[in-house]
């Protein structure tokens, strides 16, 4: 609907994103014999979720190995920046092949 109150040329209120598309890591061919890190923000029953995943995946992949969330610290607390920044180093030290991160809730 046209209006008679003048014409406005209006500017974009956002600003350009400063992040480029980043490639994902190469996926694994199998979880058998692989070491999986558990990352947790210590809420929403992640401890029970990981216990169930350990149980279920062990049946499919008998030689799967786990690194507990206790090794990494809280990924969403007051120490988030430090904990997340340390992940690449910790993964190397612990010979981690893949990671599961929770809980989005």
């Amino acid at each position: 609907m046209a209006s008679n109150d003048g014409q406005y040329e209006v500017l974009w209120p956002r600003s350009p994103r400063q992040v480029q598309l980043k490639p994902l890591a190469r996926r694994l061919d199998t979880l058998e014999g692989k070491t999986i890190a558990q990352l947790w923000d210590f809420v929403f029953r992640g401890d029970e979720v990981y216990a169930a995943l350990e149980e279920g995946l062990k049946e499919r992949y008998p030689n799967i190995r786990w690194v507990s969330y206790k090794e990494f610290g809280n990924t969403h607390g007051g120490e988030e920046r430090e904990v997340v920044a340390a992940l690449p180093r910790r993964f190397k030290e612990l010979k981690v092949d893949a990671a599961i991160s929770g809980m989005g809730a």
Partner: protein, 464 residues
């Protein structure tokens, strides 16, 4: 979770991110700003918070586990970048109603009419600062957009601000970009809203309300700058409701609260800005997020001993799950804020009490039994690992939380007296207070100086 997953993927480690069903949209929005829009997630049916142990186990084994395997071993989707306008592009031409319809339909406005951000209007704002329009004050998550002086001016125009507010707006965005504030958490489910507290002579220069009805809309500076904060969170940080803003209920933005520095000076106290590390007389903004609060009516008595038990009790009553920011998720980051009516502050000070003594009183008396801490965090909100004795023995929390093993011992709400923030404001003629429930590390108090020296002298608009 996604930030940790992105760090892992960047390090060459494939990930599966566990996301409850109702949060899959949030994950999709957030992943774009992190540069990995195709990062795979594993769905958790329903919400873990309301499922029996058996139901949760069944859901994980029946649904989530297959997603995890696919995430870690299967094909991943192709990522494409979005095309967006340039920073200074004209994005629409039309009348007032048409502009507003366009902004609303494109999620660039908050549901109220905006002032059309024309180049002429934006340049009026830019003339009120010496800062370069291209200066970047920080990169704001979740959208990872640059917080530029230019974008501050555009959103300032839209919010109904006046050009001379520009130095305040810049200081606010500097606070928003400060890592200690934690803007990336602004879309969390408790939906806390930021409160801006203003200090300094600029309160009077720009005619902020600092007396009766201080939190009510109706005062241009207080209201339009409060609206600016939320619009900037939406347009530049990227917090859109039902996308990156996952507030369960949410709040409307709050108007700016200015302190009554006349009364503060009269009673010999210091303004909040000094408590936050600045000099008396500095113009400052302090931002922090609060999930809610309550008016505490009719604090009666003629001495601190008569008045303060009620206030301490009122502070305790505003806090429930938020104590996870004292012991747990936030560890010592809970910062309760109390707005104190001037006649209450005057009465307390007349007995020789400093603000520090008031904070000490609250630290000593606003307490709850230890068993309640553990009941709220461990039993009621299913955060199972928090135990005050264990945390104390690990050296993670102060002695005040474990002075004995009596489960009925009274423990403080905060780590130290200075965690309390006191602001004198509101109706000078009424004996009431307002207590805010803080959001801890997810909106930690940050103060920035308003750079009045960077405010350029006003110049007449040149035409032609």
């Amino acid at each position: 979770m996604l930030r940790a997953s992105v760090a892992a993927e960047s390090a060459g480690i494939p990930t599966a991110t566990l996301v409850c069903e109702g949060f899959l949209g949030l994950a999709a929005s957030t992943s774009v700003g992190l540069g990995m829009p195709n990062i795979p997630v594993a769905a958790v049916p329903g919400h873990t918070g309301v499922q029996s142990k058996e139901e949760l186990r069944r859901n994980i084994l029946g649904v989530t586990m297959d997603d995890v395997v696919r995430n870690l071993t299967g094909e991943v989707g192709h990522a494409e970048s979005e095309t967006e306008p340039g920073a200074r592009d004209v994005i629409f031409k039309g009348g007032f109603d048409e502009v507003n319809q366009y902004f609303y339909e494109n999620e660039l406005a908050d549901g109220l009419p905006i002032v059309p951000p024309t180049r002429e209007k934006v340049e009026q704002f830019l003339r009120c600062t010496k800062r370069s329009p291209d200066e970047v004050l920080g990169i704001l998550l979740p959208d990872s957009r640059a917080a530029t002086v230019w974008s501050i001016a555009v959103n300032g125009v839209m919010s109904g601000c006046r050009p001379e507010y520009m130095s305040v707006l810049i200081a606010l965005v500097e606070a928003m970009a400060d890592p200690y504030y934690g803007v990336e958490h602004s879309g969390n489910t408790p939906g806390g809203e930021t409160l801006i507290v203003l200090n300094g002579p600029i309160i009077k220069t720009l005619r902020f309300n600092y007396t009766q009805g201080v939190m009510r809309d109706g005062f241009m500076a207080n209201t339009s700058i409060g609206r600016f904060w939320r619009l900037y969170l939406r347009n530049v940080a990227g917090f859109l409701p039902q996308k990156n803003d996952k507030a369960t209920f949410g709040n409307t933005w709050r108007v700016v609260v200015a302190e009554n520095e006349d009364v503060v000076k009269e009673i010999g106290w210091k303004p909040l800005s000094v408590d936050m590390g600045y000099e008396a007389g500095d113009n400052t903004v302090t931002v922090s997020r609060f999930t809610g609060g309550n008016h505490i009516s009719s604090i009666s008595g003629s001495t601190p001993d008569e008045m303060l038990p009620y206030l301490a009790d009122a502070v305790v009553r505003q806090y429930s799950w938020q104590i996870m920011f004292t012991v747990g998720q936030g560890m010592g980051t809970l910062r309760p804020l109390i707005l104190l009516g001037p006649i209450i502050a005057r009465t307390i000070a007349s007995w020789g009490w400093s603000k520090e003594e008031l904070k000490q009183y609250l630290f000593d008396h606003a307490r709850i039994p230890a068993r309640e801490y553990e009941r709220i965090l461990r039993d009621w909100t299913a955060k199972p690992i928090w135990n005050l004795e264990e945390e104390y023995r690990l050296g993670r929390i102060p002695r005040a939380f474990f002075e004995s093993d009596d489960p009925d011992r009274m423990v403080p709400l905060v780590w130290e007296p200075d965690d309390y923030m006191i602001v004198v404001t509101g109706d000078p003629a009424r004996n009431s207070a307002y207590v805010f429930a803080h959001n801890g590390v997810l909106g930690y108090p940050v103060t920035k100086k308003i750079d009045a020296a960077a405010a350029a002298p006003r110049r007449a608009t040149k035409k032609g």
